[in-house]
Symmetry: C2
């Protein structure tokens, strides 16, 4: 059946092109490798506000996650009195589930059975719907799971639908190593003013999700839901609705028929553990024969990294009230999330103070996606250099300020509009300076090209 | 250009078949999921001698590797006086090379630059030939690198050559998600009595490698060399020759033209750190345009897991004489390797004592691949059950003894011969019991079917 990839695939010609051997889709490329060399710069540091890499921007890891992982990797630490007992209990429980009681053994290809059970319990609590460990495949981060599943459920001739703009992992998922079928972008979120979360940082409403599910049902589509930002909701009145929960609340025929895969990751949320490469996907209503092929395909690379599986376990099964690690865990988690919420508001405020920059509320995720007005002479100058106008702006910004953001044309955007994506991750003080620098640069740029 | 995958691809019809959506090649499947259920067994434990998973079989991790990794993941341990200073220095050096000084940040897609430099220095010492960090791509284990490269250099219409028998990672590398071209097995190693290392545990001679390189040159093939067992050489007179070293010793035109990729991993050798999923590939003489596509393709899954990159760094740049960790590191490394050498001899001795079992010297790697004579009535019984004769034998072995080995038909073997692959990894005492049990079972089996 064809594939619906909401919040994922893009129609942007900048993103999908064909090359003779495998089909490779460039990401919304970091621009800094293109920074001109050998000339003095008016800045001392490149600020990479282009990628959702929280710890690279100074976010501190959550202690409990790291303690459990370090204990599993170096069990001599079980004798260390400064590490709390619940972390040690967790490490013992996880090691007992590993081959030879070692994090150095292969696990089953879909992951450690115990961790899959813990994920299933987490999903059951979250959605109030039964979740089976057998439907859960641990992965090397969400992007890995999307690529693997994309290889199973898509074929060259399939039509793929997506919300636009979007983060191009999904574009890649549906295309690498398969013959290219058409990829159609859906601007409807955009028009209805509830957009996908990355890059547009808006939180999908329950109604929007229902509409996507109905569309998938009518068109017999396989639904892929990227839910890695489920903890990153900041705006009042916004809430995370999982596709699975909505699907089951809608009831038959939807809940019995619509094939769904959802993805989660340890790289975002309050964890920001990008380097560990951990995550999972849950499949719902998947054809058993396809599921068997999926199981075979995940076995090709043997198993997901064990340290990432360990971190994932601590995330889906965190310390509970009364546990020695509970207070610190909650304090650290809240500190990260409230700092992000503060920076989301700050971003929106400073941008909207600047004439010509329009920034919707950053309801969730880790990014702002402001629209920028560009004067006709800037469009002409971009055309002369054979660049998209927002790419031209972003390159100038980088050369003059060292601030690296991603042009909106990397994600797909409505014809004739221009955006850039910037993370809200830099530490508050740095972010404030950065936003003000960007705002002044924009004003100067507009003056220069008017 | 077509692809030569020595020591990798197999012609076995058991291994490659086509399914409508992606092309998936089953591995030499562990048989234990097929163990009959609900009937009492004449054994208390399934012994998984089917997979090279050292730590699952009780091998202890190397202390230095785990200390450095635990320090990087939980830097509070830098204050722990019981961890040696060189491990701490290493951890500090690696953390300084990570974004935000954290193992939780994404690294560059081909890996941490510092680790790539350390790998390049390791290769230069090993081969006496220049190695460039830019030619090194860190990976999520060797199988991951093989799959990714396979997607770049193969196309449906390419002919792929391989040594036979072989471990099927390569078969998978060349086939998933690409249209299937012919895969041709080369039995020449077999005939010349210098076989690829896994499963046939023989060490390729320098002459054999030269012949493969000449063949690749003449046929304009891309050469993929799986060198994950480079530390696992036990037999006197055997030595590891890297394809790169031999290629450069042969000089022009070979050294200037033949495109080569070689793979290494932290899962084998003396490390056995399978769970961390770490490794690298080095590409030599690769067409720059293809290399650029490879770089894009590895960026799809963002970066290899950082804990695996850390372990890899300790492996390519181990403690040196005079360092506080040196003595323990060398003692642990030698203990693992000499135990494996001892078990290699033990395996060969016990098998060759059994009439009808023929086991060549286990020169390297972690496996024996004995040939077994099977009586005509066993062949008929297997045929009646629509099984390969060695599959039939291995299933009976599993049901009666709990010993899980892999039938030779999973790797490809000369028509009319039968083998199985068994690891030499169980602890010595357990291995001895296991070998004797297997030998008695074989004798009984032959009697039963004669």
């Amino acid at each position: 059946s064809p594939v619906l990839v909401p919040c994922l695939l893009s129609l942007s010609p900048f993103l999908s092109f064909l090359i003779p051997v495998p089909i490779i889709v460039p990401c919304p490329c970091p621009l800094f490798p293109f920074l001109s060399r050998g000339v003095p710069k008016p800045f001392t540091e490149v600020i990479k506000a282009n990628i959702g890499d929280a710890q690279a921007m100074g976010q501190k890891p959550i202690t409990f996650l790291r303690q459990v992982t370090a204990l599993c990797l170096y069990p001599e630490l079980l004798a260390n009195p400064s590490i709390p007992e619940d972390a040690k209990d967790r490490a013992r429980r996880l090691l007992a589930a590993c081959g030879g009681h070692s994090a150095g053994a292969y696990t089953a290809s879909p992951g450690i059975e115990l961790v899959r059970q813990d994920v299933a319990r987490f999903l059951q609590r979250r959605d109030g719907v039964t979740a089976e460990p057998g439907d859960i495949f641990l992965s090397t981060g969400a992007s890995d799971a999307i690529v693997v599943l994309g290889g199973v459920v898509t074929q060259g001739t399939h039509t793929r639908w997506t919300g636009t703009p979007q983060y191009p992992t999904g574009t890649r998922a549906a295309t690498p190593n398969t013959l290219p079928g058409p990829v159609l972008g859906l601007y409807w979120y955009w028009e209805w003013d509830h957009d996908p979360q990355n890059p547009t940082r808006q939180v999908q409403s329950r109604q929007c999700i229902e509409d996507v599910i109905k569309f998938a049902y009518e068109e017999k589509l396989f639904l892929m839901a990227d839910e890695v930002y489920q903890d990153n909701i900041y705006a009042e009145g916004s809430a995370f609705h999982s596709f699975k929960k909505v699907l089951f609340e809608m009831g038959p025929p939807y809940s019995e028929v619509v094939e769904l895969a959802s993805f989660h990751s340890i790289s975002k949320g309050f964890m920001g553990e990008c380097g560990f490469r951990g995550g999972y996907m849950e499949v719902v209503n998947m054809d058993p024969a396809v599921k068997q092929q999926l199981a075979k395909l995940v076995s090709v690379r043997l198993c997901p990294p064990v340290p990432g599986q360990i971190v994932l376990d601590t995330v889906v099964s965190p310390p509970q009230p009364g546990d020695p690690s509970y207070d610190l865990f909650m304090a650290e988690k809240q500190a990260v999330l409230s700092s992000l919420a503060h920076k989301a508001r700050l971003t929106q405020e400073i941008f909207n103070r600047t004439p010509g920059i329009h920034c919707n509320p950053v309801q969730g995720a880790m990014y702002s996606f402001p629209r920028i007005e560009l004067p006709p002479r800037a469009l002409a100058a971009a055309k002369a250099q054979d660049q998209a106008p927002d790419m031209f702006f972003c390159m100038k910004l980088l050369e003059e300020t060292g601030i690296c953001v991603v042009p909106g044309s990397g994600f797909g955007q409505r014809e004739g509009t221009f955006h850039f994506r910037m993370t809200i991750l830099p530490p508050t003080e740095k972010l404030q300076v950065l936003l003000e620098k960007l705002s002044s640069f924009y004003t100067k740029f507009v003056k220069e090209y008017s």
